[in-house]
């Protein structure tokens, strides 16, 4: 007789295998989805991958798209590893962009290097404060961070909507207002990494943050607390750790990381504060972090991969007519399979004696 029992330790090969099966299954279901829309599945997917990774230009464009996803993914990793369910990356990203924009107004006229440094500090502080707010709501007022971060996301979006549509940051055109800010000064643009591409220094930020997250989680006392908080908060408490302080700190770090995504999109890509190109980056980051196995390295890989797909989506739309919204659908489907695979990889089949 064969019996299913929990594994005592996770088996690396088995986990990787389950993960691979999940991704393949996710793409198979996504293929069915394309088929239901009446398009040629093979043509759509080959256009998608070609648009993502098919040329040097496509690859640099993919790296640009991957940058905010890696960052919001890392923000997810830091919080979720502590079993703090921060889903406020969206709002924290907006807050980061807004605070950084405020910084660019205050510091206008300074030399480029100082200006950009100041913008980064403003942005990170903005996102970290919003994250910490949810942390305080959780520790002081017992408000679940899931609820508070979702609600704060909406509040921040309405604040931005006010600032850009009638509020003080609104750019007024000749006759109409466009729900966007005036362009940021050239000196505040993030420097490009390569001439002839749009790849900007924000991508380096993402990689640096990924390395920093690895060091934080694996090599520092705070990292130990984060992992212990996720694993056994009671033990951590009896060890004398101020768990409330840790929670607020983790939320601040997570918010600060998401904020980098917001400011890097604003000063590296959009060059104007506007809601549309920031929309959804925070929620997608949650998927990226979870598919990346809540590890910084895996999150970078997942970010590069899905950033590529998002970048290739337009090419796919032009070539095969399949809406570019296929990519968020693929992300959601793969996420669900990965969650299932995560469970399956924690079990094993064993042969047991049948005692009749």
């Amino acid at each position: 007789m064969i019996k299913v029992e929990p594994r005592l330790e996770t088996n690396w090969a088995w986990t990787t295998g389950a993960f691979t099966v999940a991704v393949v299954a996710g793409f198979a279901v996504s293929g069915l989805l394309v088929a239901t829309s009446g398009a040629d599945v093979f043509k759509a997917f080959s256009a998608l991958f070609q648009g993502a990774f098919g040329s040097f230009k496509a690859i640099t464009a993919s790296l640009v798209k991957a940058t905010p996803l890696i960052l919001t993914g890392l923000a997810t990793v830091v919080a979720f590893r502590a079993q703090i369910w921060n889903i406020g990356q969206e709002g924290q990203l907006y807050a980061g962009a807004m605070a950084a924009y405020l910084g660019s107004l205050i510091l206008a006229g300074l030399p480029s290097v100082i200006l950009i440094g100041g913008i980064v500090i403003f942005g990170v502080v903005g996102g970290a404060l919003l994250g910490a707010l949810a942390g305080v709501l959780k520790t002081r007022f017992r408000v679940s961070e899931i609820i508070s971060t979702v609600m704060l996301n909406y509040l921040v979006v309405y604040l931005l909507s006010y600032l850009l549509a009638g509020g003080p940051w609104t750019e007024i055109g000749e006759t109409v207002s466009y729900h966007q800010s005036a362009p940021v000064p050239e000196a505040a643009h993030l420097p490009l990494l390569m001439a002839g591409s749009k790849l900007h220094i924000g991508f380096l930020f993402a990689i640096v943050v990924a390395v920093a997250c690895t060091i934080l989680l694996e090599k520092t006392p705070l990292g130990f607390e984060i992992r212990a908080l996720g694993f056994n908060p009671t033990a951590l408490r009896s060890r004398g750790t101020d768990v409330s302080r840790t929670i607020v700190l983790v939320m601040a770090i997570s918010g600060g990381i998401a904020a980098v995504a917001g400011l890097s999109e604003l000063f590296g890509v959009g060059h104007r504060l506007r809601g549309d190109y920031l929309f959804g980056l925070g929620y997608t980051g949650i998927i990226i972090g979870m598919i990346g196995g809540l590890r910084p390295g895996g999150t970078v890989l997942a970010g590069l991969f899905f950033g590529g797909l998002e970048s290739g989506a337009l090419y796919m739309k032009i070539l095969s007519g399949v809406p570019s919204a296929l990519v968020p659908a693929i992300e959601g489907i793969i996420l669900l399979f990965v969650l299932m695979a995560g469970v399956i990889s924690r079990f094993r089949l064993v042969r047991v004696q049948n005692n009749g």
Partner: protein, 310 residues
């Protein structure tokens, strides 16, 4: 602000409150049963979005309001089965499951929506009409506020005492409550815990899907991406703020609906406060409500804890 308190406007705000309350109430009262059975379904937002979306597809493609409502119910049931499979059978963390489901719903509806309207103007539809209850609708003020509403609104309000009766006055209701407090006791008694939890999740999700369907058919004439705009989350807040009691849930839902009704009227009247302030009120209120209700006496003890036999 003075105009707000004119009679006609006040009546209109209150009538809108009851209408706006409907989808929230369907979701909140349904998910209340799910949560009392021990399952934290965080996928309410996504389930509602799915309900709204399929209702839109059916009403525009087949021109049938009844069909659209049935489709929303079915979509809710399928989403519920998925949640139950993940949380009860696979025992994936309830929060993670819900998040995954919301993201899935958001991606799928956007893709299907774009595929559906590709290359043509977005089709619109005529939604529900008001059903004036004979006699009652002639009562001054109250008639207009309470008894001249969409048909499903009466059903949503009726669902509150029905769910209360089920939970507190029937054997199955007692067992549902026991699932959330001490599932082992039921298991020992020989009750199939998993099957009951499946039923509770599917019931909640069907109601949530119906709420999504109403959101589409009762308010609007077209689908928009992310049309639910956090209402699923407000339903969850209403359950917590209502301390897991039907009456409390109804009260919390009324607060949210009133604030939203206020916001829509303020926009029309043109008060000198940015309208975003009013639009943000329900979300702000939800955080304040949660801060005010620190005591969670009514929270089922085993809520969110995957049940496994030792």
């Amino acid at each position: 602000m003075g105009e707000l308190f004119q009679e006609a406007i006040l009546v209109s705000i209150l009538a809108a409150t009851v209408r706006i309350m409907t989808p929230l109430l369907f979701a909140a009262i349904g998910e209340l049963v799910t949560q009392r059975a021990g399952i934290w379904n965080m996928g309410v937002e996504g389930t509602m979005l799915m309900g709204a979306f399929v209702a839109y597809i059916v009403v525009t493609a087949a021109d049938s309001l009844v069909g659209a409502v049935l489709a929303a119910l079915l979509a809710g049931a399928l989403m519920g089965l998925l949640v139950a499979f993940m949380t009860v059978t696979l025992r994936v963390d309830h929060f993670v499951t819900g998040l995954g489901l919301n993201l899935l719903a958001s991606g799928l509806t956007l893709f299907w929506f774009r595929s559906y309207i590709a290359g043509r103007p977005q089709p619109t539809f005529d939604g529900f009409e008001n059903v004036a209850l004979p006699g009652l609708s002639d009562i001054p003020y109250l008639g207009e506020i309470l008894f001249t509403q969409r048909g499903l609104t009466y059903f949503a309000v009726l669902a509150v005492p029905l769910v209360w009766y089920f939970l507190y006055r029937t054997k199955y209701g007692l067992e549902v409550r026991c699932l959330g407090e001490n599932p082992k006791a039921l298991d020992v008694k020989g009750v199939n815990v998993a099957a009951r939890q499946y039923c509770a999740v599917v019931f909640g999700s069907v109601m949530t899907g119906l709420g999504g369907g109403f959101l589409m058919l009762g308010f609007s004439d077209r689908f928009l991406a992310e049309v639910t705009a956090g209402r699923g989350w407000l339903a969850i807040v209403a359950i917590i703020a209502g301390n897991w009691m039907p009456k409390g849930v109804l009260l919390a839902v009324l607060v949210f609906a009133f604030l939203e009704a206020l916001a829509t009227h303020v926009q029309v009247i043109g008060v000198a406060v940015p309208h975003q302030v009013f639009l943000a009120l329900p979300y702000l209120a939800s955080i304040l409500l949660m801060m005010g209700f620190k005591v969670r006496a009514g929270q089922p003890a085993a809520l969110g804890v995957p049940y496994r036999r030792a």
